[in-house]
Symmetry: C2
Subunit: 370 residues, 2 copies
Amino acid sequence: MPVPSFTPVVAGLAETVPFVGPEAIARRSGVPVRARLGANESGFGPSPKVLAAMAEAAPLCWRYPDPESHALREALAARLGLGLDEVVIGEGIDGLMSLAVRLFIAPGDTVVTSLGAYPTLNYHVAGFGGRLECVPYRGAHEDTAALAVAARRTGARMVYLANPDNPMGSFWPAAEVLALLDALPGDCLLLLDEAYGETAPPGALPPVDAARPNLLRLRTFSKAYGLAGMRCGYAFGHARLIRAFERVRNHFGVNRQAQVAALAALGDTAHLDWAVGAIARACARIAAIAREAGLAPLPTATNFVAVDCGGDGAHALRVLEALARHGVFVRKPMAPGLDRCIRVSAGPDAELDILAAALPLALREAQGAA
Amino acid sequence: MPVPSFTPVVAGLAETVPFVGPEAIARRSGVPVRARLGANESGFGPSPKVLAAMAEAAPLCWRYPDPESHALREALAARLGLGLDEVVIGEGIDGLMSLAVRLFIAPGDTVVTSLGAYPTLNYHVAGFGGRLECVPYRGAHEDTAALAVAARRTGARMVYLANPDNPMGSFWPAAEVLALLDALPGDCLLLLDEAYGETAPPGALPPVDAARPNLLRLRTFSKAYGLAGMRCGYAFGHARLIRAFERVRNHFGVNRQAQVAALAALGDTAHLDWAVGAIARACARIAAIAREAGLAPLPTATNFVAVDCGGDGAHALRVLEALARHGVFVRKPMAPGLDRCIRVSAGPDAELDILAAALPLALREAQGAA
């Protein structure tokens, strides 16, 4: 009996997931998460004004969302100094990333990224039949010069760079990012992921400029704004690139409450400033907790700290697993060269207290299990 | 200067939108919407228990949603008598539809649908390079026998059927749907859109059965449940079909509040029963208002009424435009044979009062403009 066959691209894909959620980890292990420090969320939460706006809007959730996200897009365009057709809203950076890959990557096309960079990009590239060319990090940094060389060598149609970087927490000054852009062929798109833009040091983000025909930038309300659960991100760049999303996006896909929440979040700059400060203090405390336990925290431009566990990848994985048994959820990079680290997200003191108590125990257990 | 080129499929697409939202219509016309009766939403709103659950969960919106939507999926599977791997949650039916097309339709593959059926399906088929074969309605019904004939003739890989139907409001008994399924080749998927399943008469929905290898069914919380703004739908069917979504879906795409809202909605069957009753009464009143104005309402199995305006498509369009000038938002089918109708969504009496006052005026204006 014949059954419906998948497309050739889909037939070649694994049934996979880029990240297993903490809820699923807890369901499988039976250990409740006591300190949720692995998903680079903001445990400092959204602005109270966001919660008030959501509460006020909730009774209207029977209405479809505005498919143009007009109010939010207008506010973002004004903030960025861009036109309305230079900004598009999507279901988080992940959703926009999927669409960006779909727009530009046909089966067999090459995308250049860093070995160990954001796995969801790889998932979407594979999902549209693209070919990944992975360039090793140089220390804790994505190697911009090598990315450009690889793009030219492979005739890549897209290069991915996260600045600030995830999972290592490093950053490049804007000049370095623009040098990468200048080194790319004009028909190669630079997909610049600025998910951690709000915590970036001054000078890390290139000036906003929608004139570059091959630069698409992604930002989100999931990190410093504290709205990861609402799934709302945005892309901005040249109008030719942004308008193209109209050809493929799910127009009614951005939840109504998400639009309301993001608009309110954008308006409360005082809360954002406070949250960025709280994140910086939490990162400093994570670094201190790590040092106290004899580990080496890396500098960070993000809302997390990569902590070198001082051994190999297997050792860091044992540390992560031991932390999980203590109810502390963190993640870790898996690529060679980065995998000696665990990645600990900023969070409120109550959760960092749990980390501080658990880390020395986890290290002892990891050494004992070796 | 070269610029990034779109994929061959994307290069051939228009910058289009299947539906212009009422907010955009109001922005462009300058006329505020006084009666929102065009998007087949439920102005009767969600359950108060849904609003309570959303309020309780809102402070946790800084957390990413559970990518497995475990609690909601478990509740749906239990309700349907299915296994966990026979149900998948998505960003409304639109989002799931896009993924279903992506799974099965490669460039050049044929999808059979009805001429004038849900345009978002057509948008997604075009979006993945598929070819549409459109079968005319038979009266107010999608022509199931002709759909099967067209599928066999064209070697189609997918057939789309909405039961109950949108935009005409008709339905087929389950036996007719299963006869269509039996008439399809085993490798042709029947994509069965049951968005209006909650308002369907007894006997319209085939029994739940995940054993059929080529049947994928779509349902939503957007209609009778009153949660269109939250973007939450589900697909169910054979585990081989459902598991395949893991290969391509945006795992973290379903908003956290949407999962909370849908779970609470599913639990409040008393509210659903009340809403279905209120919808039926509103549809009866829309029919009476139409008859009073000398028009011919069609029977409905949905939350809207197709109203035959008694002329041609141009006349019905003039009626729609005149209603819009009075602040009454409705939609209309555009395909030949269906386009003599406008489509009026059920809503609370206050909005139907506005319709009742505006319709005779709009008819006079439409006749005057002819």
